[in-house]
């Protein structure tokens, strides 16, 4: 800032090599810059999720009452999470789709490696399980296009349909048609017991 100018001004008058004065001006300017940068951080960081928000980052959901063919929507980190007790027909239908036909061939399952394929089994894999529980599909109910909430049991693929811009998801929550770029995200979750799921 100001010290840059000072420096130049004195370079004209002082014909000697860098003097103590130049060093002093540069040092003062540098320390000022460091201080200004350090002051900035608290003013930025205060907008990040605070401790009380982060404390609610994981929730537990009781799924005892969700019958086959029914869905449950719960609030997690301010977003809807769909928990669907899928029917045999839905599982079969999802299994029948070749990976090559999918616009997004990645599972998008936070419980699996980032490059896992979007097979039906990979879509329903929970953390800490040896085998996927095929009947339970759990995913964040936010359209990967622009963030609307898709409607259940609708669309051309017996899954979800987003009314905002017409994205169709299948019975494994994978994008099949429309502008959405990715399959619906599966968050980290695990089965605490057969009837209790911890999300996040």
């Amino acid at each position: 800032m100001t010290f840059g100018d000072l420096d130049v001004a004195h370079a004209h008058t002082d014909t000697q090599e860098p003097t103590r004065r130049d060093f002093l001006y540069i040092a003062t300017g540098a320390v000022t810059a460091v201080g200004a940068a350090a002051v900035l951080w608290p003013f930025i960081d205060q907008m990040n999720p605070d401790a009380s928000v982060q404390a609610l980052a994981s929730i537990e959901v009781d799924i005892t009452s969700v019958e086959v063919g029914q869905s449950l929507t719960v609030m997690w980190r301010g977003k809807p999470v769909f928990i669907r007790h899928r029917t045999e027909a839905e599982i079969e239908e999802a299994n029948a789709v070749p990976i090559g036909d999918l616009p997004d061939p990645i599972a998008r399952n936070a419980n699996l490696p980032a490059d896992a394929e979007a097979t039906d089994a990979n879509r329903v894999f929970a953390t800490g399980e040896a085998e996927p529980r095929l009947e339970w599909l759990l995913m964040v109910g936010v359209c990967t296009h622009l963030g609307c909430v898709p409607l259940g049991e609708q669309g051309d693929y017996d899954g979800w349909f987003c009314p905002c811009h017409g994205s169709h998801y299948d019975s494994a929550g994978r994008i099949r048609k429309g502008p959405a770029p990715r399959n619906l995200d599966v968050p980290e979750y695990e089965f605490v017991s057969d009837t209790l799921i911890r999300v996040g």
Binding site: R21, A27, A38
Partner: protein
Amino acid sequence: MTMRSAKTKAMILTRIAPVALTAAIAAGALAVPAQAAEETHALKSVHFSFDGPFGTFDRGQLQRGYKVYVEVCSSCHSMDLLAFRNLSEEGGPDFTPEQVRVLAADFPREVIDGPDDVGDMFERPGKPSDNFPPPFPNQAAARASNNGALPPDFSVLAKARHAGPEYIYSLLTGYEDAPAHMEMRDGSYYNPYFPGGQISMAPPLSDELVEYTDDSPMTTEQYAKDISAFLMWAAEPKMEERKRIGFQVMVFLVVLGGLLYFTKQKLWRDVEH
């Protein structure tokens, strides 16, 4: 000559007049108030590890203080602003997240949650993200259970009293027999550290009341000290971070101030001012 001396005299007078006036005003302002001095009991002096610009909390003491709170105080005093998760946060009692899970579940009261699927509220064990469940559903209930007195919330109590931790310590260890001339209200106890001297809370601490698992003495003194420290932390959980960052800021300002001083001196060297 005479003229000059008259002038000098006038000057001396005019110089003295304001000084005399000041003295008069100062005397008026300061002499009288002595009578208005209040009768207050000086707090007991007690040393805490968090005193001073570099003081930090004693983890063991905060953990013991939490135990005293849970086993003694929490039956009447709420602590609404504290969450179990705070107990494992940096700069506090330093419980591990696993310990906090257990402490939350073992709290003497369950958390009221709900409504459930049929619209009823239900009780469940505490989780780290829950705030400490209060002993009474509301102030009226708290008063009704305590002879009309309202046990204050503990969340920021240490900051809501002058010299908070010393005050709390003095109060808890300061119960005495009431002086003969004092007429006590029914159900009140004499405590010279409490404003008015009559407190509705019975002496809450006694030796061996809370079981300590470390080597700390299980005395009223120690309990009072530990709960005072715990309440100070509860009121100011970011104190250690504050002092740490504060030190960095002060050092920075001294360095920059020094550099600027020399910069300014150099710059102004050639200016007559």
